[in-house]
């Protein structure tokens, strides 16, 4: 295992409203440390919902984001699934993109330079069909420079084990963790699948295998059918459910995992507003990711950040860490 790499980021200048300028002296501190990864603030964008950053640049000051987590990268480019890839569901959506991506090398050459211009932490989300692929992708990104951490998607099928997801089994999840950890000196965030009986067991397993942090949840597997044509809405039959609908499940899982591991927990799943983000912090998440909300409002991340700052001020908290894991009982 390589020595962990500490990164420090110059936090983007975030002047918000005139009102905030008056109180700048007591501006709440939002910086968080995620397993050696120091972020300006706990708001990141979720993989697959923010491209490689460019498309949102007209709407969002990327410098204000704690981190941008890019679309999942594999060793070779992947075309993805045939359409239709999307279906709307009650308070949610299904996606069956099929992990389309330009491949890690093309990312490093074509997309990373744009992101490196910003102060936001660039986190590369990676995946593979085999353990070897995870390793190689990790190596290439580590060598590239400019990547602050790796987020490892283990919700994809292990083709060598009959297609069962890497993240479905504590041993497989630990194996992926170990392989990635030995391929990089960057902080490694293991992104957990919610489609399991005991997500805390998976979390403990990856922690024991050296994960620097965990992020949860990835999408819940779901389905939607067109009753008039008696066909699925998605070409792939099933897809990943995200959005407000999944928030209660995500929140419960973050709460459970946070009570079982020592490493930082990053929470995501249905975060649309600052209040949603705060729920996750209160149950124990150190940071949050915003995904589907970007589709509803390209400026969602900025509003969430402002709202979280407003909350801290209103509740006279000087540091976001004072909020984390402070859930009381009734």
């Amino acid at each position: 295992m390589m020595q962990s790499h500490h990164s420090y980021f110059i936090c983007g200048n975030f002047m918000t409203s005139g009102e905030d300028k008056r109180t700048q002296a007591i501006e709440p501190r939002l910086a968080v440390d995620i397993g050696g990864l120091r972020l300006c603030n706990p708001v990141m964008t979720a993989s697959g919902t923010f491209g490689y950053g460019e498309e949102y640049a007209p709407f969002v000051d990327l410098n204000r984001l704690g981190a941008v987590i890019v679309k999942g990268l594999s060793l070779e480019p992947r075309a993805g699934n045939p359409p239709p890839r999307l279906a709307e569901t009650p308070c949610g959506m299904l996606n069956a993109i099929g992990l389309q991506n330009i491949g890690v090398r093309a990312f490093v050459e074509q997309k990373l330079p744009f992101l490196k211009d910003f102060t936001t932490a660039v986190i590369a989300n990676i995946f593979g069909e085999t353990l070897d692929e995870y390793e190689k992708v990790a190596e290439i990104l580590t060598a590239a420079g400019g990547v602050a951490a790796l987020e490892v998607n283990i919700s994809c099928p292990n083709v060598k084990k009959g297609g069962i997801a890497f993240g479905a089994d504590p041993e497989m999840a630990a194996e992926v963790t170990g392989r990635v950890k030995q391929s990089t000196n960057l902080p490694v965030i293991m992104k957990l699948s919610p489609n399991v009986t005991d997500i805390s067991a998976i979390a403990e397993s990856v922690e024991a295998a050296g994960a620097d942090a965990v992020s949860l949840i990835n999408t819940l597997t779901g389905m939607s059918v067109d009753v008039e044509r008696r066909k699925p809405h998605l070409y792939n039959m099933t897809g990943g459910l995200s959005g407000p609908a999944v928030k209660p499940v995500a929140l419960r899982m973050v709460w459970q995992v946070a009570s079982r591991v020592q490493i930082p927990v990053i929470g995501l799943g249905g975060i649309m507003t600052a209040n949603d983000a705060l729920e996750f912090l209160i149950v124990g998440a150190k940071a949050v990711q915003v995904g589907t909300a970007n589709f509803v409002d390209p400026r969602a991340t900025m509003k969430i950040l402002d709202g979280m700052t407003h909350y801290l001020r209103k509740h006279k908290l000087s540091d976001i860490s004072e909020l984390i894991g402070t859930l009381g009982r009734l």
């Binding site: 919902t49 498309e55 239709p84 999307l86 389309q100 589907t292 589709f295 509803v296």
Partner: protein
């Protein structure tokens, strides 16, 4: 010159039923909204409601701007939940607009005849294009010929405005209740030999079946044809990859292209229809 889309609030001025389940919505926006180009679209949602979750893509039917305001029009039919909600909005209702999005139609300098082939609600982007071409016609000799198809006379929504911009307009109905009895593609196929590939350009938008038939008619033919296609969307701005459709690239390979960003307008010969 790259125009960045904006996400801004708009106020509904008009939202009225035109015919059957077809509505015209006129929205007032800030004059900061960029000049929209024919073939581009917007993602529209109710400012206040959280459901349905996703914004709906709508072609830009008309766009004008002055110093004080911009005015955007969409022409839509009630299909499902989202559009049904839209049809109930009253004047002064606030909507959120993301746009203008996508690559619209391109009109090259050599074009002397624009052939617009329209089916169903495809009449919307083609009408905006026709208005644009009518402006161009002031400076350049240009014939604007439209073929408009519908199931029957009752379903010919939006004809008047399109016709106003065109040199001539040929109507087709499946049941022959008005105009030519048959599909637009049949009628166009008959007229095809009369068009000069050097200076004629086809622009089309309509139901998938119609566009596939047109692609067949034009297979191997030198007449250039641009098609505006549809696919389900989440982000509308190129990030989620949800709207990807298979397209034949210049190298001959088939690759996925985003309808919201690389389209919605494509060369019809590049489309890989699921035959």
């Amino acid at each position: 010159m790259h125009i960045f889309p904006m996400s801004i609030a708009g106020k509904i001025l008009v939202n009225s039923k035109v015919v059957n389940e077809h509505f015209l919505m006129r929205i007032e926006l800030s004059p900061a909204f960029p000049q929209a180009l024919p073939g581009q679209f917007v993602m529209i949602r109710d400012s206040a409601a959280q459901a349905p979750l996703l914004s709906r893509p709508m072609s830009i039917y008309a766009f004008e701007r002055n110093r004080d305001s911009a005015f955007l029009e969409i022409f839509y039919r009630v299909a499902g939940e989202g559009t049904r909600n839209f049809s109930l909005f009253q004047s002064d209702h606030k909507v959120q607009i993301l746009g203008p999005l996508g690559k619209g139609f391109t009109v090259d300098a050599d074009c002397r005849r624009a052939i617009l082939i329209s089916g169903g609600i495809g009449i919307s982007p083609l009408t905006f294009l026709a208005a644009h071409l009518e402006e161009r016609r002031k400076n350049v000799p240009l014939e604007i010929t439209a073929y408009v198809g519908a199931r029957s006379a009752d379903f010919l929504a939006g004809l008047e405005r399109l016709a106003a911009h065109c040199s001539d307009i040929r109507i087709c109905t499946d049941d022959g209740s008005t105009g030519y009895r048959g599909t637009v593609t049949d009628l166009f196929a008959r007229d095809l030999p009369g068009y000069d590939a050097k200076d004629s350009r086809i622009y089309t938008c309509g139901p998938e079946g119609m566009m596939k038939r047109l692609a067949e008619v034009l297979r191997g033919h030198p007449l250039p044809c641009q098609v505006s296609v549809e696919e389900r969307m989440a982000c509308g701005l190129g990030a989620c990859l949800g709207c990807a459709v298979p397209v034949r690239t210049d190298s001959g390979d088939v690759a996925y292209r985003r309808v919201c960003k690389d389209g919605p307008v494509f060369d019809i010969s590049a489309m890989v229809w699921s035959f």
